[in-house]
């Protein structure tokens, strides 16, 4: 059985299985197992020979990056949720029934995302993204509190509109391709589209890209389409917040990138780069400002995700070898770091029984180990060395300043803005006298250390293979 099939089948089967398993413990274990197996399959795909691009599936340097990242974080998040969810059940916030649903949905979501990444058909891509979105909507509403339902509802409505826009864009792309590639499936197969893109009707492509950017951009969380993101992160179970930030945003961004490549392949179209760069900068600045007034720790990091998605979109919008490399690297680093942060945040909120930053002061006194974990994550995401985010921001800022000084200045200002807010909050969280009542943390912090270790290693020494691999992907992006 080919790795591709495995990557898709394992989550599908696991989802069905988990829907049937009543036992919480067992379900969690199966969940971890399935995610781990999927990750192994992805590794096999990475190392082994790649299948030739067909009507259904496509594996190239670009999406292999996303897939490996996706399955890895999916695995660690699953193992984190195994320890996290147990506490939630003990605390009575979740019932075994909801939990069964949760685990099943987790695998459905993984299936949707993997399919969206692997498929060669833009229609299927759209369907899979919608599937992943709907499954996360259900998980965001898991707690059934008014706020959770509120957040899920908001996410659902905005997501649906986004989906609709994306679909319209997809139809337009098909209409642009259909005269050239003839009717039927071939005109929707990515690997057919790209080589013939130059012959497509540029006007239709332009129109299509606008709808696609807004449609998928809603899922990426670009301002001003970001509204669903903070609430969804804040009200859902923490593992889902981690997966949302670490994975779903990337998947949506991946879709945008695919179509950007299509646009770039047609010289007659308007260049998509400036639009993406502008939206990226807007998101960066807006999120940077929003970070200042946050009192809810999960919402704080949700906005930081918007900020970093902005940076990444900006990087890809700038284009060029260095910027694309920086964008890919930043995306990978952000996924690892942000999910690690959400893991620690999960433990912290369980230890303090509150998501309010005001209640989480003095962490370095009450939970030194956890404080170190959180601090490392925040410092890393703030762009401080020796972590990988620093490398990507270094490349992005320097290369941009040499090409477009004005943009680089805005970028730097946004980075500084966000940095100040994060450090302000971090100082409040780590230091000072802790509140009297704090619970010890039993859950394992292993996934956090794993992620931070990877980020640290990437910051200090990026192996030549990975560099070559990313550079190849960057070249694909043009």
């Amino acid at each position: 059985m080919t790795p591709v099939a495995l990557i898709l089948l394992i989550p599908a089967i696991a989802a069905a299985l988990l829907a049937a398993i009543p036992g919480t413990r067992l379900a969690a274990r199966v969940n971890v197992l399935a995610a781990g197996a999927t990750f192994l399959a992805a590794l096999a795909l990475l190392t082994g020979p790649r299948p030739a691009p067909g009507a259904l599936f496509l594996v190239d340097d670009l999406n292999i990056v996303f897939i490996v990242l996706n399955t890895l974080v999916g695995f660690t998040a699953a193992s984190f949720s195994a320890s996290y969810i147990g506490h939630e059940v003990a605390a009575g916030r979740l019932t075994p029934v909801t939990l069964r649903f949760y685990h099943a949905m987790y695998q459905v979501m993984m299936f949707g995302m993997n399919a969206a990444l692997l498929t060669d058909n833009i229609g299927l891509m759209w369907v899979s993204v919608e599937l992943a979105t709907l499954s996360t909507v259900l998980m965001v509403g898991l707690y059934r509190t008014p706020e959770a339902l509120e957040a899920a509802w908001k996410y659902f409505i905005l997501g649906s509109v986004g989906i609709a826009l994306a679909l319209f864009g997809t139809i337009l792309v098909y209409m642009a391709a259909q005269p050239v590639l003839g009717e039927g499936t071939p005109a929707m197969v990515w690997s057919n589209l790209l080589p013939h893109a130059a012959a497509f009707d540029p006007g239709l492509l332009n129109l299509a890209f606008i709808f696609l950017l807004l449609g998928y951009g809603t899922k990426v969380g670009l301002a001003p389409l970001h509204a669903w993101l903070p609430d969804a992160h804040a009200e859902g179970p923490t593992p889902i917040s981690a997966v949302l930030s670490g994975l779903l945003l990337n998947v949506a961004l991946y879709a945008v990138l695919r179509f950007k490549m299509l646009m770039a392949a047609n010289p007659a179209t308007l260049p998509p780069g400036p639009l993406m760069a502008a939206m990226g900068l807007a998101s960066l600045l807006f999120a940077g400002l929003m970070l200042y007034r946050r009192r809810d720790i999960k919402r704080l990091f949700a906005y930081s995700s918007i900020e970093h998605m902005g940076i990444i979109t900006f990087a890809f919008g700038m284009g060029g070898g260095l910027a694309n490399f920086a964008g890919l690297l930043h995306m990978a680093m952000h996924s690892l770091t942000k999910s690690a942060i959400f893991f620690s945040v999960g433990h912290v909120t369980q230890a303090r029984g509150s998501q309010r930053i005001a209640d989480i002061r003095g962490l370095s006194v009450s939970h030194p180990r956890l404080a170190v974990a959180l601090a490392l994550g925040v410092l890393a995401i703030a762009g401080l060395p020796p972590f990988g985010v620093f490398l990507s921001e270094f490349l992005l800022v320097t290369s941009t300043f040499a090409r477009a000084p004005a943009l680089a200045l805005v970028l730097a200002a946004g980075l500084l803005l966000a940095f100040g807010a994060l450090i302000l909050r971090l100082t409040g969280i780590l230091f000072g006298d802790p509140p009297p009542e704090t619970a010890p943390v039993r859950a394992s912090t292993l996934p956090i250390w794993l992620h931070m270790g990877l980020v640290l290693a990437a910051g200090i020494h990026l192996p030549a293979e990975i560099v070559a691999w990313f550079q190849a992907a960057a070249r694909l992006l043009g």
């Binding site: 706020e147 659902f156 509109v161 609709a164 319209f168 005269p179 003839g182 009707d201 129109l207």
Partner: protein, 221 residues
């Protein structure tokens, strides 16, 4: 001689646009639902005609059928029940007055026509004008969603938007997956309707209880 089928297609598509305008014009929910039913019927007709034009495309007929059955019958009834439950069938729920909304709608229609005419000079006329109408319907649906306060009317707006998508998909010759898409959207809308059922406490999307959010999130300081 060959122009007649195309003219009919245009007639149907244009009818869809007309229906959309009528929906924007309607300010009573019950009437709105009726117009929407008509909207769905016209869509079904136009899709069926497209199927006829493009030849033996079974799945387009299927799509038309789904549209007719689901959006022409099931959903409107469900919504009508909700409206009766909530006793809001005669409520006027527009944010901005009907006339400015109409004007905005006309502007949007003009915008989409201009876009199509200017951009897609190359594409074949049938697809092209169909697309113009479809885009208009989509935009009008969005316009309705943002100018109506009432959840039901927003659901209706979303569905009319989606009708526009189906129209576009059907207009695209030999577009695969149209059925899947139609099904997917039907599921989506079913979700929304269920949502409206679940949250009948708040019959609008609009009543986000800010105070409640504050005490939980405290993010609006």
């Amino acid at each position: 001689m060959a122009t007649l089928p195309i003219d009919i297609a245009h007639l149907l598509a244009g009818g869809l646009v007309l229906m959309s305008f009528l929906m924007i014009y309607q300010d009573r929910l019950s009437a709105l639902l009726d117009v929407f039913t008509a909207h769905a019927v016209v869509l079904a007709a136009s899709v069926a005609w497209q199927a006829h034009l493009q030849g033996d495309t079974f799945h387009l007929y299927l799509t038309a059928l789904i549209a007719l059955a689901f959006k022409g019958a099931v959903i409107p009834m469900a919504l009508a029940r909700i409206v009766r439950r909530l006793g809001i069938h005669r409520e006027v729920e527009t944010v901005v007055g009907t006339v400015p909304t109409m004007l905005a709608g006309i502007g949007l229609a003009a915008l989409s026509i201009v876009l199509m005419m200017r951009l897609t000079a190359g594409a074949d006329p049938l697809a092209r004008e169909d697309l113009a109408f479809a885009l208009t319907v989509v935009l009008l649906g969005l316009l309705m969603m943002v100018t109506r306060r009432n959840a039901v009317s927003q659901v209706v707006g979303f569905m009319s938007l989606e009708n526009g998508l189906i129209l576009a998909a059907a207009g695209a010759r030999g577009m695969p997956l149209v059925v899947e898409i139609a099904v997917a959207f039907s599921i989506l809308i079913a979700f929304i309707v269920i949502g409206v059922f679940l949250f009948r406490i708040r019959e609008r999307f609009d009543t986000v209880d800010l105070a409640a959010l504050d005490e939980v999130r405290g993010d609006r300081a």
